[in-house]
Structure formats: structure tokens, C-alpha cells
């Protein structure tokens, strides 16, 4: 179906190319590219689409199916293990009184990447800091179900609240932290630490929908 559309498109473009106005020539590729990259040869769109060129999608789909077909005792989601795993480790770290060093370790080990984000901020503006910390990294977009992007602000459903509730319910006497501990001892110190290296300031409004804004 797609191949036919693309072939026909190419034929028609070549056939009528001579009579096309300059404006039409400029506009057509954009139509042809649709949701793809904004520039480039539309005939190569499929060939160059990174998703369509992956040959390991079946593993991902199977994992996704296994996750979303497991609805008892609670509906599992793709971020199930990462959110529970983070909580389990944080519980251990907090019990040892090492949460400050734990957050600092994350910031320090991420420094080379954060410095690259800083360069982008200097070139393209402070919103790139939020991009680099949220929708631009798997560590966030594989953790948060959705990331709402607006200029100077990102918001997302807190993954830890439901995960902590499930952990407390299904693993009794193993989790003693409160939800606010996750905000205050993990998320806020890490994000503000990242921001400091990048050279921006943030304001965090924790909640079921957590908001992070450039200050």
C-alpha cells in the first residue's frame, strides 16, 4: 500500500515536474514526508526511517504483550520494573542514610552527557535542558508514561506513587518510605543537580502530575 503510494507519487512528480511552480515544488515534499523528517528525499523516507529498519522489534513486542497481558493483581505497565526497582534501591539507600551521596553519584556519573546538554542550551536556549532531562533520554521516557512538553515546562504522571502503593500492598513490611520521600530525597535532588551542571535553574512541583519548570 505504502509502496504504491510512494511509486505513484514519484511517477507523478516526474511526469508533471516540468510544469510545477516553484511554490508547489517547495510544498510537495513536505506533504509527501508527512510525519517523517522535515527535510530530505521523500523517496528514501521508508528506507531511512530508523524504526522501520529495526530487526529486533519482535523482542520488544513480546515483552510489551507479556507486560500488558498481566493484569492481576494490578495492571502492569512498561515502566513497572524500573519504578519498583528504583524504589527498592532507594529504600535500601535511605536505610543506610546514603541518599545524598546516591543522588550525587548519579549526577557525577552523568556529567559528560549533562555537559553536552549544556552546550545545546548555550546554542539553542534553556528549553534544551528540559529536553535533555526528559523526552530526550530513555531514562525518563521509559520511566514516565507520558511527558507533556511545553516551552519551559515538562509535566508527567508520577510513576512512583502507584508503584509505591503496589509495593507496600504486595510486599508488606518491606517499604517504609513515604511518597514525599521519593520527591524530596530522589527526584528533586537529582533534577536540581542535573540543572546545576547544565547551568539552568528549575522549580519542581511534585504531585500525581509532577511539573518541572525553568525558574
Amino acid at each position: 500500500m505504502k509502496k504504491l503510494e510512494r511509486r505513484d507519487f514519484a511517477k507523478q512528480t516526474l511526469k508533471w515536474g516540468g510544469t510545477l511552480t516553484f511554490l508547489t515544488v517547495l510544498n510537495l515534499p513536505r506533504m509527501a514526508l508527512g510525519a517523517g523528517p522535515p527535510m530530505g528525499n521523500p523517496l528514501n523516507t521508508m528506507k531511512e526511517n530508523p524504526f522501520l529498519n529495526r530487526d529486533d522489534l519482535q523482542d520488544a513486542l513480546k515483552s510489551l504483550y507479556m507486560t500488558y497481558d498481566s493484569t492481576s493483581p494490578y495492571p502492569h505497565k512498561f515502566n513497572d520494573v524500573i519504578s519498583k526497582g528504583q524504589l527498592e534501591c532507594l529504600e535500601f539507600i535511605v536505610s543506610k542514610g546514603l541518599e545524598k551521596e546516591y543522588a550525587e553519584h548519579y549526577i557525577t556519573t552523568m556529567k559528560p552527557i549533562l555537559l553536552r546538554v549544556k552546550q545545546r542550551v548555550e546554542k539553542d536556549g534553556p528549553d534544551k535542558a528540559l529536553h535533555g532531562m526528559f523526552e530526550g533520554t530513555t531514562c525518563s521516557y521509559q520511566l514516565m508514561e507520558r511527558i507533556e512538553v511545553s516551552q519551559g515546562e515538562r509535566s508527567f504522571p508520577c510513576p512512583y506513587k502507584p508503584a509505591l502503593e503496589n509495593c507496600k500492598k504486595w510486599l508488606p513490611d518491606r517499604f517504609f518510605m513515604e511518597w514525599k520521600d521519593i520527591c524530596n530525597r530522589w527526584c528533586i535532588p537529582v533534577w536540581t543537580g542535573f540543572a546545576k551542571v547544565i547551568g539552568v535553574k528549575l522549580a519542581v512541583q511534585p504531585g500525581e502530575t509532577c511539573r518541572v519548570k525553568l525558574a
Binding site: N49, P50, F51, N53, R54, D55, D56, L57, Q58, D59, A60, L61, K62, S63, L64, Y65, M66, T67, Y68, D69, S70, T71, S72, P73, P75, K77, F78, D80, V81, I82, K84, G85, Q86, E88, C89, E91, F92, I93, S95, K96, L98, E101, H105, Y106, T109, M110, K111, P112, I113, T138, C139, S140, Y141, Q142, L143, E145, W170, L171, P172, R174
Partner: protein
Amino acid sequence: MMKNSQITKNEISSLDTCDDISRRNFAKKLLSIGALSSLAVSLIPEAALAWLDGGFAQREDLADAIKVLVKTYSDTKPYPHKFNDALVKMHLRNLDFAVRKGIWKERAEHYVWTLGVVVDRHIKKGVEMFGKDAFLWGNFERTSCSYQLYERIEIKEGERAVPCPFKPILDQIQKSMGTYQITWEDVHNKWCIPVWSGFARNVGVEIKVEPGETCRVKVL
């Protein structure tokens, strides 16, 4: 990395075996064991069938999951990202911290103790009823902790094999940032092996781990 033909073959066989073990065989075994106490019968099926329970088509949150999947697999630079990317990185980061602080043993013990609730509640009973393979079943294909971490789980009676998810990501981190102190051997010896052995001890099973790009865990 396995060749494509092998992947397909293995995966089909994995899925079949997986399905067989989890649902059909499980039910068969369950029905055929007339001597089971009514308590065990009432406990185990609930735990076993609360997995691949047919709820997929009723889920209303699939759009988010699919968007993240497409985003992940479109993210091919500097390396092709996979669904387990952030989870693997989290484990490596936690291990790097624990090793630096000299608390990796306690860390692994805490993990085993935390999840021990599930192991005691479900897997122990499974081992008592169906034998040692139930330990591997509970530790690998039955839990999101594994099937969200490993790309594939190859299933044989008494053995599971998984492609190590840690090696490629650790290599990538060391190449692009060089900020971690742990080695791949640390991942085997200070995380995977202590954790699996800890779970096995909880249920009275002995295991042998053969670490590698394809990691093999066998019950003895």
C-alpha cells in the same frame, strides 16, 4: 547475538514452551495431581494464572506503551536503544554506587529480602508441587522483573538462557562517558549471581550460573 533464523526458531519454541509451562501444562499438571491438598490447589492457580491472563485487549493504556516503544526503537544514535535500556542503566548505576561504597553484598541481600515475600508466597509452593524447574519459571518468564529486562528467555527443563542485557549497555556507558568503576565481571559476581543464588536458597534449590553474552542458569 543470534542469527535471525535462530532467533525466530528459538523464540517460537520459547513462546510455545513458555505458554505450555505457564498455562496449559500448568493446568494439566494441576488437574493430574489428585493428591494435592485443597489449600495448595486454591493458592497456586491464582498466582500462576495472574500472568498472561488475557487482559491485553481490554487495556486502555496501550497507546502510551506503543508510543514509548516507537520512540525507543526510533532512537538509534549513538546506539540502537531497546525497551530495557533505562532499566539496565538503573541496575548498573545502583551497582556502581554499591560497589564504590563497599555495600554490594548488603544491596543484593536487600533485594532478595524485599522480593523474598513473593518468592516465599508463590515460588516455594511451586517448587514443592512441580519440582525445581518452578524456581526458574518463577525467577524468569513468570516475572516482569525478568521479561522487562531480558530480550529473550530461552526455556529448557531445568535451565534458562538469556542474552546478557548488561554487557552492551556497560560497554556503551564506558565508551561514551567512562564514569563507572564496575566491570562486567562485577555485574555477574556482585549482582546477578548473589541475587539468583539468594532466591534459590530461599526455596531450597541449588543453581549453577554460567555468565556470558548468553547467560545460563541451571538448577542442580
